[in-house]
């Protein structure tokens, strides 16, 4: 049986077109008119619903089914480098003779890293990956606990000297957690603050206590979890171990709530003993709390904009605040008043660090500059200026670590023992006490010259993606990174297929424009500095392609491949393989191609117990059945796809108006939306041959119709040459335009048919019509 590209359906109307004279083949151009009816409406609106307008991070509530996200990076380097701005720094100085210090960085890429820092090098020795959104802050607590907070609304604890072991996840916050504070001499207490005015004070011993015992035998990742372990308690596990174990709130433990913040909190600080907590935020005030009870002790007003950075001296008597009003203020908590205000910066102050004696303060902010100010004499000096706003500072002996919105972190020299020395280099000024722009401008006409030009050490990062565009073929995404490089990604494989270097993103986008129409089966965002590709059921299964177009050679060329299924199978190939080994079963009957490379790709999804998790695809251990959404398992394990909207497209084929050709078929035809026009051509040719005497056709076409072409409509079974090798002698038109044989029906519908919308002929019926003219 010849394989027809489309099937005949029962017809709604018998004859819409005038009777044509079948014997009149004298014209050079014989035409057919094809009437195409589209039952589906244009641009399936359901497919654009999810994830549009960038609302991808916090839309859990709006979604019915759990989403699967995979995060792509263009390098294996994320094992050793950040690929987005660094929001947080924490330092553990060497106590042992090895003289090696540890720097912990938390990045917008969702990861934390531990760096072994020596005099002139820093090497990444661990990556802490579990957060699914920006890491906003990180602090070290006690001997070996790293605490981090994220825009994913969680606070996580990690074994800071481990290989990346997450020891706990606290889900008390309901909005982004923006800041943390710890106490120098109390290794148990951590405070977290976030948007919506939420401030919690955690007793880590209490929060983590019930679990430390149960984790002892759990260090072997391969026999860790089998899906039935208790998830009610939290325990220490290795990072390659179960995901569920840290998705749950420790039960029975409730943190102290510092209640009464009316607006979002952007900064916290605690004194050494952990008895006093200060918070700042969009209220513009600095609030002081008793961290043991969570009760308010005072509210200090003075700043005129968001309070972004706070410091407390070891006794808890003095407090320093940095604000978006560009001011630094020194508060005497004993007197409950502001004792000094320093106009040093030209723009918002985002980061502060003080010398142990609280005599000097280092400050950085939106003006890209790092200043040192003597709190007593008000003398101030510009230490350095770079290209990115400063987000965090950490003092480290004779250096200061500076984190910016860029993915690299720099260490700058400081006069550790005697900060006063740097003022002797000249260029210092007296900080005004009025809002800066006026105070300082009158003080000196020009911008000061920074003391230091180059950092002493740089921890390099990878430029993060800052712009992206999904191309029409719905497989390629064009991106631009922080360094200006433009790249083209193939997202079904998760790889960069073209690196254009530093070219215009907009121009490249125009250059790559293709007139094709494929349903929007995924959405992307770049908030992690990488491409996050989001799949939601059922719309992710709406796109199909022919095997030949995907260069899948082991399949029949017109086999339809579902893009999401191929992608999922590729993504989870590793997991499936492990699963196979583990259970000795064959989860998949067919040998699907692994389309996603074993790259640095992470998956993010929501587990059965609630709570999102993130893990590298190569580290999935084959037992996470319950942690994947049911539709993902259905697809990769059972090859079942959810019911989708009709992927077919119905149309009529009619001879060109006034042409002499006989009507090929009067019924409505139906074909996949991805069907190429050349298949329609084949069908027409075959029909002509079958229904007409062959010689008349050849004669009338002036002998132009070669014999092999006749059989081409059924080339599959007859093993004849593929269509491409023949010169097309049948043309199909729609809206008076000759259609490119490479176009799909969906493309015709989107780009050619669209223009005929205004024709009154089409508006009176419910369906839409396309006229396709065939010329031979």
């Amino acid at each position: 049986m010849p394989k027809l590209p489309f099937t005949k359906e029962k017809l709604p109307s018998q004859s819409v077109h005038p009777q044509t004279n079948t014997s009149n083949f004298k014209d050079q151009r014989i035409s057919l008119l094809i009437l195409l009816r589209i039952d589906l409406d244009f641009g399936n609106s359901a497919m654009h619903r999810v994830g549009s307008a960038g609302n991808t991070s916090n839309s859990v509530r709006a979604r019915k089914e759990k989403r699967l996200t995979y995060v792509l990076t263009d390098a294996d380097d994320t094992k050793v480098q950040h690929c987005a701005g660094v929001n947080s720094l924490a330092l553990r100085k060497s106590s042992a003779p090895d003289n090696c210090s540890y720097l912990f960085t938390g990045s917008r890429d969702g990861r934390l890293k531990r760096w072994e820092v020596s005099e002139n090098s820093a090497t990444c020795s661990a990556t802490f990956e579990s957060h699914v959104d920006w890491v906003n802050d990180a602090v070290l607590v006690g001997e070996n606990t790293l605490v981090s907070c994220s825009s994913d609304t969680t606070v996580k604890t990690w074994d800071c000297f481990s290989d990346g072991t997450c020891t706990g996840t606290f889900r008390q916050h309901t909005d982004y957690v923006t800041c943390l504070a710890s106490a120098e001499r109390n290794g148990n207490i951590v405070a977290s603050g976030g948007l919506g005015g939420e401030v919690f004070i955690w007793d880590l011993e209490g929060a983590l206590a019930p679990l430390t015992k149960s984790n002892e035998g759990d260090d072997d990742c391969s026999n860790g979890i089998n899906g039935s372990f208790p998830v009610t308690s939290l325990r220490t596990i290795s990072s390659s171990n179960s995901i569920s174990s840290h998705t749950n709130q420790p039960q029975g433990y409730v943190p102290v709530v510092a209640k009464g913040h009316k607006e979002s909190v952007y900064a916290l600080a605690m004194n050494d003993s952990g008895t006093l907590l200060v918070s700042g935020g969009t209220e513009k005030a600095v609030r002081v709390w008793d961290s043991r009870t969570g009760s308010k002790t005072m509210k200090l007003r003075g700043h005129t904009d968001n309070v972004r950075a706070l410091l407390l001296d070891s006794t808890g008597r003095f407090c320093l605040s940095g604000s978006s009003d560009s001011m630094i203020r020194l508060w005497d908590l004993g007197q409950q008043r502001c004792v000094h205000s320093y106009a040093v910066h030209m723009d918002s102050v985002w980061a502060l660090a003080s010398t142990p004696s609280f005599s000097h303060v280092y400050s950085g902010g939106r003006d890209l500059s790092l200043y040192l100010t003597d709190l007593a004499t008000r003398e101030s000096i510009l230490l350095c200026t770079r290209e990115h706003p400063i987000q965090k500072l950490a003092l480290h002996d004779d250096g200061i670590w500076v984190a910016t919105t860029d993915s690299s972190v720099h260490r700058w020299p400081i006069e550790d023992q005697n900060p006063q020395q740097v003022f002797q280099r000249g260029g210092s000024f007296l900080a005004g006490n009025l809002s800066f722009s006026r105070a300082r401008a009158s003080l000196e006409g020009s911008t000061p010259v920074p003391v230091y030009r180059e950092p002493t050490l740089t921890v390099e990062g990878i430029p993060g993606i800052v712009q992206h565009e999904i191309l029409n073929n719905r497989r390629h995404v064009l991106t631009k990174d922080n360094g200006g490089s433009v790249k083209l990604w193939e997202i079904t494989k998760g790889v960069v297929i073209q690196d254009y270097g530093k070219v215009s993103f907009e121009k490249k986008k125009e250059e790559l424009f293709e007139m094709v129409s494929i349903p929007a089966w995924f959405t992307v965002d770049s908030r992690l500095g990488s491409l996050s590709v989001h799949l939601d059921t059922p719309q992710c299964f709406s796109a199909e392609m022919y095997a030949i177009d995907l260069n899948i050679t082991e399949k029949a060329e017109d086999d339809k491949i579902n893009l999401a299924r191929e992608t999922l199978k590729g993504l989870l190939a590793h997991w499936l393989a492990k699963k196979k080994v583990k259970y000795g079963s064959q989860p998949l009957a067919n040998g699907e191609v692994t389309s996603v490379r074993d790259r640095d790709i992470s998956v993010i999804t929501e587990g059965s117990q609630g709570g999102q998790w993130r893990r590298k695809i190569t580290e999935l251990d084959g037992v996470e059945d319950e942690e994947f959404p049911w539709w993902v398992l259905d697809c990769v394990l059972h090859n079942r796809l959810p019911p989708r909207e009709n992927t077919k497209c119905s149309f009529y084929l009619q001879p060109y108006e006034g042409s002499a050709l006989q009507i090929l078929t009067q019924g409505k035809l139906s074909a996949p939306r991805i069907l190429r026009i050349h298949k329609v051509v084949n069908y027409v040719v075959e029909k002509m041959v079958v229904e007409k005497p062959l010689d008349s056709l050849i004669n009338d076409a002036g002998g132009q119709l070669p014999l092999p072409f006749v059989g081409d409509g059924s080339f599959k079974s007859m093993g004849l040459k593929p269509w491409q090798k023949l010169k097309p002698s049948v043309e199909i038109l729609c809206n008076n335009q000759v259609l490119n044989p490479e176009m799909s029906l969906a493309t015709v519908r989107t780009y050619i048919w669209k223009k005929t919308e205004d024709l009154p002929l089409h508006t009176h019926t419910q369906g839409r019509y396309i006229y396709i003219y065939i010329l031979s």
Partner: protein
């Protein structure tokens, strides 16, 4: 009516301004919303002069179709060309045209004066734009626009994308607001401009226009479920949004939102709040550092306790005299009487005459562009 006229003439005596006419407007049954606004517009001198000038310089009007612009110009011409200094005129053609054109105003129901003003100004703009386009495309062939296939910039037919044409109506009334959004994470400010012909202000008890304007420009935070997608952060972040006046208009029309929908009642309620409107106003919520200064020249007053009934009158300042227009009647009032229209600090007050639409004219001429 003659008596009223002569009374006003007597009151003004030899101070009656040269060439000025003070005429009442006849009420055709609940058309006071229209009369009060027409008086305010008539005594908006730059508007009146430009309308008459445009009208006289476009002779083709004679054969042109009647529209609200021609009707309004006719009415104003009729008033200015009266031999008598005072009296009553029936704005019959104008009201008929208005009712013909918009069914909202067709019934004899009580209408909203602000809605009418807004409709009228937008209608005038539309007519002027249409005429200007017709004038432009006349020399060329009419079909030129149709020959451009899928023209995006010249899609006259849809009217969606139009070249912004600045008509004299715009020059008088149009200002530009800028909507500034600042991401609270990276603190990048994105600004978007929009034009306005009048400002609608929310009001509170015992306030002033200045504080209402301050509230109008107050900061709104986009947070929780309503975060802002920051292009710089590539993510959703909290943001602060506020409206500022980028270009203060020549004539500032302020509409006080005295009619508020009360959910519990399921209907609109009139707010009789006391809102002080100064005779001289400084606009400080502008983008530029300099304040724009304005002087009050007309007030449309709503009389009555409810939104669906009541009466409209107008107070007009002409040649340093304050006049009170109540349909057919025109009286002179003292400047100090203006403050009796501020509203009442008590909820139930016998005084139900409240300033509703305020017309200010810019006075700091040096700053105008």
């Amino acid at each position: 009516m003659g008596a009223a006229g002569s009374k006003l003439e007597k009151a003004l005596g030899d101070q009656f301004p040269e060439g000025e006419r003070y005429f009442g407007l006849e009420n055709f049954g609940n058309t006071c919303y229209c009369n009060s606004v027409l008086q305010a517009l008539y005594f908006c001198v730059p508007f009146r002069e430009q309308l008459l000038e445009y009208y006289s310089s476009n002779k083709s009007f004679a054969d042109a179709e009647e529209n609200l612009l021609t009707c309004l110009a006719d009415l104003f011409t009729q008033i200015t060309s009266q031999k008598k200094k005072t009296g009553v005129i029936a704005p019959k053609r104008f009201v008929q045209r208005l009712k013909k054109q918009n069914e909202i105003f067709r019934s004899y129901m009580h209408q909203d004066a602000h809605e009418f003003l807004n409709y009228l100004l937008n209608e005038l703009v539309d007519i002027l734009e249409k005429e200007s386009r017709a004038a432009k495309s006349d020399p060329e062939s009419c079909s030129s626009s149709e020959q451009i296939p899928n023209g995006i910039k010249t899609s006259h037919m849809n009217g969606h994308v139009r070249e912004p044409l600045i008509t004299w109506v715009h020059k008088n009334f149009q200002g530009i607001l800028t909507n500034e959004t600042r991401c609270l994470r990276c603190e990048t400010v994105t600004a978007r401009d929009e034009t306005f012909l009048d400002l609608s202000l929310d009001i509170e008890q015992n306030t002033s226009i200045t504080s209402c304007l301050k509230n109008f420009s107050s900061t709104e935070t986009l947070n929780a479920e309503d975060k802002f997608f920051c292009d710089k952060c590539c993510s959703l972040q909290e943001a602060q949004k506020r409206m500022k006046i980028k270009k203060p208009p020549q004539i500032l029309v302020i509409h006080l939102k005295r009619f508020k929908y009360i959910e519990q009642l399921g209907r609109y309620k009139k707010l009789s709040y006391r809102v002080v409107f100064p005779l001289e106003l400084k606009l400080s919520n502008t983008v530029e550092d300099t304040d724009a200064e304005y002087s009050l020249f007309a007030v449309v007053v709503h009389v009555g306790s409810g939104p669906n009934h009541g009466h409209y009158v107008s107070l007009v300042k002409s040649h340093n005299h304050w006049l009170f227009f109540d349909d057919e009647n025109v009286e002179m009032i003292d400047e100090s009487a203006v403050q009796t229209f501020f509203g009442s600090a008590q909820e139930y007050s016998s005084n139900t005459d409240h300033g509703y639409i305020l017309f200010y004219e810019r006075v700091d001429v040096g700053n105008t562009s």
